[in-house]
């Protein structure tokens, strides 16, 4: 077991009160597993990913724990988390294209980061160059400034840098979102390749793009309004989703060969609830086509089949 997260609650402190961006999320990721995390904007995906790396204000840890390779992560203490950053849990942030200091040469910056961990840049240089080669970047980029690289090159550079110390868990946050479709596929395959070569033990891939997840993820977890609603293998989520939200999400994707002039693509009517004061009970209730009286009570995430968990009362155990 690489990572296990239990009942994680992270709230944002705002002037209007606490925003419950993450409200009791539990899951685990096995060694070598790529877990996809999907959901619409504002559902708490990025908060979840970032909370495992560095939980700083205005984010506040309310409850929950995370265990990585048998060691508990001090989630609530950003200073203690430094020890786990990069080597334990690493991240390719959503803002990868602007993640490098524009005023510093890339190689120099990496050397500084390594020196802070008492590692020698020159010893790691051959491995670094090998990995640059893997993502098809010339070793010359190390002598360059970030602004001399294109957006896609910077993203690959960040991928190499984030994984340089072979992290146990890599959080890849929306790494494909700003790329065009052909590059998306290449980057997604790179992520899988990094896992296959053992450069990264396991991975949490955050995206709103289910098509990307279907290509590389072993399992997919779907979030809605700060909670996990369904988790299963990628195949099951795409072909046989059980939660009404997942079903609607999948059916709102265009299908190859379908004639959308004849049958319009469906969306999900309504909007997610405000997380400032989320409603009691099932949070999807207001938009759910299969709503019943029981939904006033909060549905727990239950195992409905082997490796398939759903948080919905309509699902028989």
């Amino acid at each position: 077991m690489s990572l296990s997260v239990q009942e994680l609650r992270v709230y944002y402190q705002t002037l209007h009160g606490e925003v419950r961006a993450l409200d009791g999320v539990s899951f685990s990721i096995a060694d070598g597993e790529i877990m996809g995390l999907a959901g619409e904007s504002g559902c708490g995906k990025t908060t979840l990913g970032y909370s495992l790396v560095r939980l700083s204000p205005p984010r506040r840890l309310v409850s929950g724990r995370a265990v990585l390779d048998g060691e508990e992560l001090p989630l609530g203490d950003p200073d203690a988390m430094r020890r786990f950053g990069w080597k334990g849990v690493s991240i390719v942030p959503q803002f990868a294209m602007s993640a490098l200091n524009p005023r510093r040469r890339i190689g120099g910056m990496i050397a500084e980061l390594l020196a802070a961990r008492k590692l020698r840049y020159l010893e790691l240089l051959p491995e670094l160059e090998r990995r640059l080669d893997l993502v098809r970047l010339p070793a010359a980029v190390l002598a360059m400034y970030p602004f001399e690289l294109s957006g896609g090159m910077r993203q690959r550079m960040v991928l190499v840098l984030s994984t340089l110390l072979n992290p146990s868990l890599l959080v890849a946050d929306e790494v494909t979102s700003a790329l065009d479709v052909s590059i998306q596929r290449a980057v997604a395959q790179l992520l899988a390749e990094f896992r296959d070569r053992g450069l990264v033990k396991s991975m949490l891939v955050i995206t709103h793009d289910l098509a990307v997840l279907y290509q590389i993820a072993d399992t997919i977890a779907v979030m809605y309004a700060g909670k996990l609603v369904e988790k299963a293998s990628a195949d099951v989520i795409i072909r046989a989703p059980r939660h009404p939200y997942t079903r609607l999400l999948i059916s709102s994707l265009p299908e190859i060969g379908a004639r959308h002039a004849r049958c319009r693509l469906k969306g999900i009517p309504g909007q997610p609830p405000s997380l400032l004061n989320p409603p009691l009970g099932c949070r999807f209730r207001a938009r759910c086509p299969a709503v019943s009286d029981q939904c006033g009570e909060e549905p727990p995430l239950r195992e409905v089949a082997a490796g398939h968990q759903v948080a919905c009362w309509q699902q028989p155990c």
């Binding site: 560095r54 430094r82 950053g85 991240i91 942030p93 993640a99 005023r103 980061l113 961990r117 602004f147």
Partner: protein, 330 residues
């Protein structure tokens, strides 16, 4: 790179010509007649006054058509001749300015440099320490929001009159003459301290606030968050943020040093300090065309030089500028 500097130099040359032209025009837009102004101090009969007026107008070349005056002005300027002061007749303008400039340099250069160093240091410290932030920031805001002269008057009143430990007027004791002696040096230092302190405090406040806000902004920048996510020690993240936050501060420093020759008018007036600031005020009050032109000329040169230093400094400090120079798209 040579192309970059050639283009810059051309722009500076054009700016210089334009600014100097405006400098020549402005005094001549003032209502009134400088020679009549000068002659008003001597009482002679109307006929004699007319003769004297014509004579001096001819001496100063003010009886020529404006375009001739303008060409003569450039001609003399290129020979390093700024004319003769009307108000301190017959001292040449260059000599008048040369007498006042050392006081400005002694006063302003230390005030600007020290307030810049101290302000940036404390501002950077305040950005990372809540306790210090709660103390330094309000004090800094207070200093920088205070009108210069009010702070100066307050200091003069308290340290000069109430405590009586420091003199409040002039650059040295009235009983002394400038000389290379210990007594004169001490007097100079005593008179220097109050104007220096008032300039230092106001400058310190502005620099500290600027640096604090810049550091906080840089620490929120993506690269700083990424470094933190990779578990970089706080010291390293701060180092990157500080380096980037210094860029605008260096611009500010160079520009502030560029206007040193302008003096600190208000401070000099409050403390009767004989720098270019008081000189310029006197020149304007007496419509001394040549002295006004001379003072502004030095200010123009100072500002352009300051800007040029910033341009060069950025080439060294900010790699993005270097790329812009080679003509590649940024």
């Amino acid at each position: 790179m040579p192309r970059y500097f050639a283009r810059k130099l051309l722009i500076y040359a054009l700016t210089f010509v334009l600014a100097v032209t405006i400098d020549w025009l402005i005094p001549r837009f003032m209502p009134g007649d400088p020679i009549a102004n000068m002659l008003a101090r001597v009482s002679v009969n109307t006929n004699a006054a007319q003769v004297m007026h014509d004579y001096y107008a001819h001496v100063f070349g003010l009886d020529l058509p404006l375009w001739r005056q303008y060409l003569n002005f450039w001609g003399r300027l290129l020979q390093g001749d700024l004319g003769i002061s009307l108000y301190l007749f017959p001292t040449p303008v260059t000599q008048v300015i040369a007498r006042a400039l050392p006081y400005d340099i002694l006063l302003l250069v230390p005030a600007i440099l020290l307030s810049w160093f101290a302000g940036n240091r404390f501002g950077a410290l305040a950005a990372r320490n809540r306790w210090l932030d709660n103390v330094v920031s309000p004090v800094a805001y207070l200093f920088t929001a205070m009108p210069y002269m009010w702070l100066a008057i307050l200091l003069a009143w308290y340290l000069g009159l109430v405590l009586g430990i420091l003199p409040i007027a002039g650059a040295y004791a009235f009983s002394l003459h400038p000389a290379w002696s210990a007594a004169f040096g001490l007097s100079l230092l005593q008179h220097w301290f109050l104007p220096f302190l008032s300039l230092f405090l106001v400058g310190f406040g502005g620099q500290a606030i600027g640096m604090r806000n810049l550091i906080i902004y840089e620490l929120e920048a993506d690269y700083a968050r990424y470094l933190e996510a990779l578990g970089a020690p706080q010291r390293l993240v701060r180092k990157h943020a500080f380096g980037n936050a210094m860029l605008p501060q260096i611009t500010g420093l160079a520009l502030a040093l560029g206007v040193v020759v302008a003096g600190a008018l208000v401070t000099e007036v409050v403390f009767s300090y004989p720098g270019i600031g008081s000189l310029l005020l006197a020149a304007i009050q007496r419509q001394d065309y040549f002295l006004i032109q001379g003072c502004f000329l030095f200010i123009i040169i100072g500002v352009l030089l300051g800007n040029f230093i910033v341009d060069i400094a950025y080439v060294v400090l900010d790699p993005r500028t270097r790329r812009g120079m080679t003509g590649e798209p940024a």
